[in-house]
């Protein structure tokens, strides 16, 4: 007790609690008057009851009314409405089954009746105690139920909503505790002041908890939103680099629902070509859904380019009422995603209960939508840049292919045309002159060269369309190797066939002949100083292999990875010295691939004594190409490939 004022700690606490509840009532009442929404009215009503009780106490104290049983009954009756009002608040916030609501209402009527009837009995009547216990139990059980519901709800919620549900649960639990504390005070009147102080403290805490749960000041909401918002903004810079637009949209919706404390959020992407809004699914596995631009409240936000908040989606958008009802959506918060003048889409957050969103969330969702616009716009720029690069690459490759092929074909054509016209002119000037044998020989040689190039190009084109194989038949590759070797062997490049004596596999023998010939011709071509070429054929398990080894100039390590590429010629190869379009190995690989086989290359280049140029170190160099084929081809292939023959 303060000696100056004569105010006891109990009284001080009492006044503080009462003042707090009264202030909260005024705040919530003002909010309910400003924008009358169901949740706000229920909040104001809840604190209104408390404020009324407090005001009555003040009034009776001020005019020194004697303790009036009528007042006591009125206060008690009003007190007994509180659990039901609490239930209504929770219903607004996270939903309460109708049966529980009905039980709460019934309990309220019964308990008010009991409180009203209580003064009828004398103060020492034994029946008063069980009635008091019953009333307290009703109050405590209902508050406890509500507290548990709120805790469960908070587990499912996130961000600001989670905190608010936790605060509300704490408020309920504390209110139940206040009532529980009354019981011992009636049982042990000696310790009454201690219980009173305790219950006032708990009551104060309960009032504060309700206040921040149901009418959180904006500053508190922002503080609660901040961690989620920070986390989202921290991730935002990396989002445009994610693998797909779907992944980016999913991250945005996750960040938005966490920041707003909404159970669900989605993004609608505007498709300018089809004039449709494509809405992202609520879970990453779901399918996107299309809707006309104006449909849903989200569509309204997009059309008007203004953020909107609806706490009753069915009422505000009757056209789509059944969609909202089916989804259990009550409140909708939507904002347009717009970058400059380009309308990219719309950002939407849904909640099954209206009080989850507040008016200042309109500002927040617009900020989030602007952030989403930046992310999606950067993504678009990255995509555009990649598309331009890819197109340039394709153009460049096509140019290379066409100009390379054109150049190679035009060279013999130039000789042919010029030579033919030269002979024509000669014949016109001197019809009796002898035939130009050298010129005719050149025509034949160049026509053959042109024919070879045309065949090469056609094979490459066939390879590209996967139609390079003809008839598949069982072929002895040793016999085939001997046949090719006999055809191509020369004194400068003698060919030796080694390995197994027989190796039969199901192949297109003409194409395998082509591969082997090409490899042997390459071996001879790149051994300008002459030298033996070795062909080995062997069978191993269910595979047949053949290899071609030379002691030529070798292939630089940097070129090894590219020898099978179209138009690739080794960097150590003089174009003129080795004619060809650079398609030979590309075609070889295509043929081997079509047989479900593999082709590999290994090469060594002598580093000492000038190697290839000097010829002195030629034996240090060498290249081996190895082809491995399965013994037989899958039956499906056989039919299709044979039918193409």
């Amino acid at each position: 007790v303060d000696p100056e004022t004569g105010l006891s700690a109990d009284q001080f606490l009492n006044y503080l609690t009462q003042a707090t509840f009264f202030a909260v009532f005024l705040l919530t009442a003002w909010a309910a008057v400003r924008v009358p929404r169901r949740a706000r009215i229920n909040t104001a009503l809840f604190f209104g009851v408390l404020a009324f009780i407090i005001a009555m106490q003040w009034l009776t104290a001020a005019i020194h009314l004697p303790a009036n049983p009528l007042f006591g009954a009125l206060t008690g009756g009003l007190l007994m409405t509180m659990p039901y009002l609490m239930l209504r608040l929770v219903d607004d916030f996270s939903g309460v089954p109708p049966r529980v609501m009905a039980a709460g209402a019934g309990g309220m009527i019964v308990s008010i009746a009991l409180v009203a009837a209580l003064p009828l009995w004398p103060s020492d009547a034994p029946v008063r105690f069980p009635i008091t216990v019953l009333l307290v139990l009703y109050f405590v059980v209902l508050s406890g139920y509500v507290a548990v519901q709120l805790v469960l709800g908070s587990r499912r919620a996130s961000g600001v909503t989670r905190r608010r549900l936790q605060a509300a649960a704490a408020g309920c639990a504390l209110l139940a505790l206040v009532l529980l504390l009354i019981l011992p005070s009636t049982l042990l009147p000696a310790l009454r002041p201690v219980w009173m102080v305790a219950s006032r403290l708990v009551g104060l805490a309960s009032g504060l908890a309700f206040f921040i749960a149901f009418a959180p000041p904006p500053i508190l909401r922002r503080a609660w939103q901040e961690p989620e918002l920070r986390a989202f903004l921290g991730r935002a810079a990396r989002l445009p680099r994610l693998s797909s637009t779907e992944a980016i949209v999913w991250e945005i919706t996750r960040g938005v629902s966490a920041s707003l404390g909404a159970p669900a959020a989605t993004v609608g992407l505007w498709d300018q070509d089809d004039q449709l809004m494509r809405y992202a699914p609520l879970d990453p596995e779901g399918a996107w859904t299309d809707a006309p631009a104006h449909l849903y409240l989200a569509g309204r936000a997009f059309s008007t380019q203004r953020a909107l908040l609806s706490d009753n989606a069915e009422r505000d958008d009757p056209e789509s009422a059944d969609v909202y009802r089916a989804a259990g959506t009550r409140a909708v918060l939507a904002a347009p995603i717009t970058a400059g003048s380009e309308r990219l889409g719309v950002l939407v957050a849904y909640a099954p209960h209206p009080p989850i969103f507040a008016d200042d969330d309109l500002v927040l969702i617009q900020l989030l939508a602007d952030q989403a616009a930046v992310i999606l716009e950067s993504r678009k720029l990255i995509d555009d840049a990649a598309r331009v690069r890819a197109r340039e690459e394709v153009t460049r490759l096509r140019d290379d292919f066409l100009s390379s092929a054109a150049h190679d074909l035009k060279t013999p054509l130039t000789t042919l045309l010029a030579q033919a016209q030269l002979m024509e002119r000669k014949a016109e000037r001197d019809p009796t002159a002898p035939a130009d044998a050298r010129g005719i020989k050149r025509l034949v040689v160049e026509t053959r060269r042109l024919n070879g190039l045309v065949l090469e190009l056609l094979d490459a084109a066939r390879a590209e369309h996967g139609r390079i194989l003809g008839l598949l038949e069982l072929t002895d590759l040793v016999a085939l190797a001997n046949k090719v070797a006999a055809r191509l062997t020369t004194d400068r490049h003698p060919i030796r066939v080694a390995g197994d004596s027989r190796a039969v596999a199901e192949v297109d023998s003409m194409r395998i002949d082509q591969v082997l010939s090409n490899l042997i011709e390459n071996a001879a071509k790149y051994s300008p100083d002459g030298g033996e070429v070795e062909v080995r054929v062997w069978q191993e398990d269910s595979r047949v292999s053949f290899s071609v080894t030379d002691r030529g100039i070798g292939i630089p390590a940097a070129d090894l990875a590219h020898v099978f590429d179209r138009f690739h010629r080794g960097t150590n190869v003089d174009d003129r010295q080795f004619a060809g379009m650079g398609l030979g190995l590309y075609i070889c690989r295509a043929i081997v691939d079509a047989h479900h086989g593999e082709i590999a290359v290994a090469s060594t280049r002598g580093v000492a004594g000038g190697g290839a140029e000097g010829g002195a170190g030629a034996s240090d160099n060498g290249t081996t190409f190895t082809v491995t084929l399965p013994l037989s081809q899958p039956p499906g292939d056989l039919d299709t490939l044979s039918s193409l023959k």
């Binding site: 100009s403 054109a406 150049h407 035009k410 060279t411 013999p412 054509l413 130039t414 000789t415 042919l416 045309l417 010029a418 030579q419 016209q421 030269l422 002119r425 000669k426 050149r442 040689v445 160049e446 003089d574 174009d575 003129r576």
Partner: protein
């Protein structure tokens, strides 16, 4: 305009042979080179009256040859002959006086040669 020979530069020996024989038949003096470097060695010794220049060649290509000529302060009439689609562009690039696209018609080549020699 000098009375020097016409220098034919091409990496394809067949084209080199046919073109020289054609020019020879028309009464021109002809010299040949298989690439830009050989052509440069030639112009150091004699001044050709005209250069028929292929563009894509090993060792030193048409662009390299033209650049070297300019660097040495030599101004020779050049007739580009190339199989490339953008023959005209390339001819302009190196400051050539004309071009023929391969494969060329013999009269077109001879007309171009005659015109450049007359200038």
């Amino acid at each position: 305009v000098t009375n020097g020979p016409i220098l034919v530069v091409d990496d394809d020996p067949n084209i080199l042979d046919v073109v020289s024989e054609l020019l020879d038949m028309e009464g021109y003096r002809v010299a040949t080179a298989a690439n830009g470097a050989e052509a440069l060695r030639f112009v150091e010794e004699q001044r050709p009256s005209l250069v028929l220049l292929d563009m894509r060649m090993p060792v030193l290509d048409g662009w390299g040859f033209a650049k070297e000529l300019k660097a040495r302060g030599m101004h020779l009439p050049i007739l580009v002959m190339t199989a490339a689609q953008n023959a005209r562009l390339w001819a302009e690039e190196i400051g050539a006086q004309g071009y023929v696209a391969k494969p060329f018609e013999v009269p077109a080549l001879l007309d171009a040669v005659e015109k450049l020699r007359a200038n």
